[in-house]
């Protein structure tokens, strides 16, 4: 997004692949335990007249996922994975990713309150201004895209998208 040149190289690593392998493995193991627990609640055996019970398939699938996760964690811990010492994400890279991810999350949050069209306009204009595009350009794209979306969805395809106070004020909601 920004014009930083080749600065990814030198910034310190925030996490190695090895560490992330272990974290992801642990998360998947936790998920599989929860899934196994819930499957056992609804029954994993044979239901008369229905064949295998509803929990049968999720149970075995989750069990397999758990076992595979344990192997993955163990492989990472013993440094058997191919590029375990490679940087998963450097500090510069993490900052770059967050400068997109956080505004996007705020954008999704905004949709719920002010509707998708206004939120999109704010998001696009903000994003472009923050990445040093000219204000005129930002306004053109930021107003043009939501307007095009509005015409396309509300008028052409008749698919209503979330709208907020502005649309209500204009009598469009």
């Amino acid at each position: 997004m920004s014009n930083h040149g080749s600065d990814t190289d030198n910034s310190p690593a925030v996490a190695s692949n090895r560490l992330m392998d272990i974290i992801v493995g642990a998360l998947m193991l936790a998920m599989s335990s929860v899934f196994i627990f819930d499957s056992m609640r609804i029954g994993i055996g044979w239901a008369e007249g229905q064949g295998p019970a509803a929990g049968f398939f999720p149970f075995w699938v989750s069990l397999l996922m758990g076992v595979a996760s344990i192997v993955n964690i163990a492989r990472a811990a013993m440094n058997l994975e191919e590029d375990g010492d490679t940087t998963f994400v450097s500090r510069t890279a993490l900052v770059r990713v967050l400068t997109v991810l956080v505004p996007t999350a705020i954008y999704v949050l905004l949709i719920q309150f002010i509707g998708i069209y206004v939120a999109s306009a704010i998001f696009i204009i903000g994003f472009m201004v923050a990445s040093k595009e000219s204000l005129l350009r930002a306004l053109a794209v930021g107003l043009g895209v939501p307007l095009a979306l509005f015409m396309m969805f509300e008028k052409w395809f008749l698919v209503p998208l979330p709208k907020g106070p502005l649309e209500a004020l204009l009598g469009l909601a």
Binding site: M1, S2, N3, G5, D7, T8, D9, N17, M20, V24, M28, M31, V34, F35, S39, I42, Q50, G51, A54, F57, P58, V61, S62, M65, A68, S69, N72, R75, N79, L80, E82, D83, G84, T87, F88, V89, A93, R96, V97, V100, L101, T104, Y107, V108, I116, S120, F123, F127, M128, S131, K132, E133, R137, V141, P146, F153, F157, V159, L161, P162
Partner: protein, 595 residues
């Protein structure tokens, strides 16, 4: 010939003005989708799918499949002009395509890429035309056990043929199955894995997963690298097209080989990406000009492009005949069939003849229309690529959010899309495969249903999966593939003397696992062979370091390309240095070549 008659009927369906216009719109959208980062075939189709509900199903699938063809074409443009593969399957196209563009032969490379794509697709469509009805007729006799065995084979082949750690494939796949199982169980009506949350009643929609895993994740990866586009402008002159076509006739053997590889990898869920790599490696191995590959050899563009398109197209064969998609995009199209109220599978050929043959006919027409459009509109598409990323990124994120919302008119899905984006970003970096995850979410329900019905019929005995030669042999092949990561090394050890690292030693054709061997040849340090674990720790560490350094070097070079204001002296010095490196690697490659 019954097929020919049906096909003519199909052309009558497809050849209406309405459908032709949709075809052109689809191809144009598809190329743009293929050119832009963050929008690929799979999530592009996923975003547009809800909009097609009001169209007749035949027109809808014609447009969506044309988006798919367009995306396949579009990937080549970015690879050749900008050295940025717009799609994973066009990575191999950059190897020779971009050097050609740098030598001022961009029009040749683009013509070759588009024409090869067309040839690959045409081969696959002809295959579909004659094979699909046969397979569908055959599959009409399938019971639940047979269907489960095919599902089983599909998923087992991800483990047996995938590159990277089989345990990561299993973990990703099972996560997909588990996510697919969330919600109301159709057979018993009980709620599964919802934990009292109302939003989860309907389960995870795989379209959301696709938009997040492919779209959001790719934007995040692009941002991370500080991606900016910079590339050669290109127009295609008619005489260059004719010249290149003349040369392409001489490469018919390579084309044919690539077609066959592509179709095979497309029908089995190997997919377009490994097909393109494999075909490139094979062409390099058998070509007279093999030593010239990587420096701008026409054949090096033809081979991967033909295979990628043949694979991408033939992935629709199992989707149409068995209801089992061969690629994530085919999976999304399959989801479309269900949304339009059509039941995918062999019955489609009996009950919806018009639809099926209309689609097949549109594949011929769509690819022809596509070839004409891409050949004439290259400057337009190249211009899109010069739009700065700071404009493209927010617009694509908005489009993804809108797409996710329209799937079920639900805000929860938009949050899920973001979550899937993070998962995809992480998985990509750690080598967890995305394709089996997506296919498991799509097919989990059906695989489970066939499994439970088969067991219900047999009274719980697993012997039903070996009850006749057909289901038995499919299951056995599936089992072999499933345990291949264990069996493979043993077989290799019995054959040769111990696990030998085939470092740069060319494509091990005798190797029963094609993909890792091929990738190992293309970049020995990046994709190590399966016997990696047997290597001394120091060697492994150095290899890892080497891969990382090369990756950084490539990144730095791309970044350097963007610094326009370099002095003559600086550029001279840098070029001298780069030539040195090139000579070094060329000598290394010569050394490792088998004589």
């Amino acid at each position: 010939m019954e097929e020919i008659q049906s096909l003519i009927g199909g052309f009558q369906v497809a050849l209406s003005w309405y459908n032709l216009v949709l075809m052109v719109i689809g191809i144009l959208l598809g190329v743009i989708i293929g050119v832009l980062p963050g929008l690929g075939g799979a999530n592009g189709v996923a975003i547009l799918l809800p909009l097609t509900c009001s169209m007749p199903p035949t027109s809808a699938i014609i447009m969506l499949s044309c988006i798919y063809w367009g995306a396949l074409f579009g990937g080549a443009i970015t690879s050749i002009l900008f050295n940025i593969p717009g799609e994973p399957w066009s990575v191999a196209t950059t190897f020779d395509g971009h050097p050609m563009a740098q030598q001022g032969r961009a029009d040749e490379a683009l013509t070759a890429a588009f024409t090869s794509s067309f040839v690959g697709a045409l081969f696959a469509v002809i295959l579909i035309t004659f094979l699909a009805p046969l397979i569908a007729k055959f599959a009409l006799q399938f019971g639940p056990a047979e269907f489960f065995s095919v599902f089983f084979l599909t998923f087992a082949s991800f483990i047996g043929m995938g590159k990277g750690s089989p345990f990561k494939v299993i973990a990703a796949m099972c996560l997909g199955f588990a996510l697919g199982a969330v919600g109301l169980d159709k057979m018993t009506g009980s709620l599964r894995l919802t934990f009292g949350h109302e939003e989860l009643l309907g389960g995870f929609d795989f379209l959301i997963a696709v938009i997040g895993l492919f779209g959001i994740a790719e934007i995040l990866s692009s941002v991370e690298g500080g991606l900016k586009f910079q590339g050669a402008a290109a127009t295609i002159r008619l005489d260059a097209v004719l010249q290149t076509w003349k040369r392409l006739f001489g490469l018919w053997a390579t084309s044919l080989k690539s077609c066959i590889i592509g179709c095979w990898m497309g029908i089995t869920p190997g997919g377009a990406t490994p097909a393109s790599f494999m075909s490139y490696a094979l062409a390099k191995r058998f070509s007279k000009n093999g030593h010239n590959f990587g420096k701008g050899e026409l054949e090096g563009v033809v081979a991967p492009e033909t295979a990628a398109h043949a694979a991408g197209t033939s992935a629709l064969l199992p989707m149409l005949t068995l209801g089992i998609p061969g690629s994530p995009t085919a999976a999304v199209l399959l989801g479309g069939l269900m949304i339009w109220g059509l039941q995918p599978g062999p019955m489609l050929f009996v009950e919806q003849k018009d639809f099926v043959w209309g689609l097949i006919a549109s594949m011929y027409l769509g690819n022809l229309v596509g070839l004409v459009i891409v050949l004439t509109c290259v400057p337009l598409f190249a211009a899109i690529l010069r739009v700065p990323f700071s404009i493209i990124a927010p617009v694509i994120l908005v489009i993804c959010a809108v797409g996710a919302y329209t799937v079920k008119n639900n805000m929860f899905d938009v949050w899920m899309m973001l979550a899937f984006g993070l998962v995809g970003y992480t998985f990509n970096k750690l080598g967890y495969p995305i394709a089996p995850l997506v296919l498991a979410i799509v097919l989990g329900d059906k695989a489970e249903e066939s499994f439970r019905q088969a067991l219900l019929g047999s009274g719980g005995s697993l012997a039903v999966f070996w009850s006749n030669w057909l289901v038995g042999s499919i299951m056995t092949i599936g089992m072999l593939l499933l345990f291949w990561p264990l069996i493979g090394p043993v077989v290799a050890r019995l054959k040769g003397s111990g696990p030998r690292v085939d470092a740069g030693g060319g494509l091990a054709l005798a190797s029963p696992i094609p993909t890792p061997g091929v990738c190992a040849e293309l970049s020995p340090a990046v994709a190590p062979s399966p016997s990696e674990a047997a290597m001394p720790a120091r060697l492994r560490q150095l290899r890892g370091e080497n891969a990382e350094l090369k990756r950084r070097l490539a990144e730095a070079i791309i970044d350097a390309d963007q610094r326009v204001a370099m002095t003559v002296e600086e550029l001279e010095a840098e070029n001298r240095h780069l030539r040195d490196r090139l000579t070094f690697y060329a000598s290394q490659n010569d050394r490792s070549k088998p004589n």
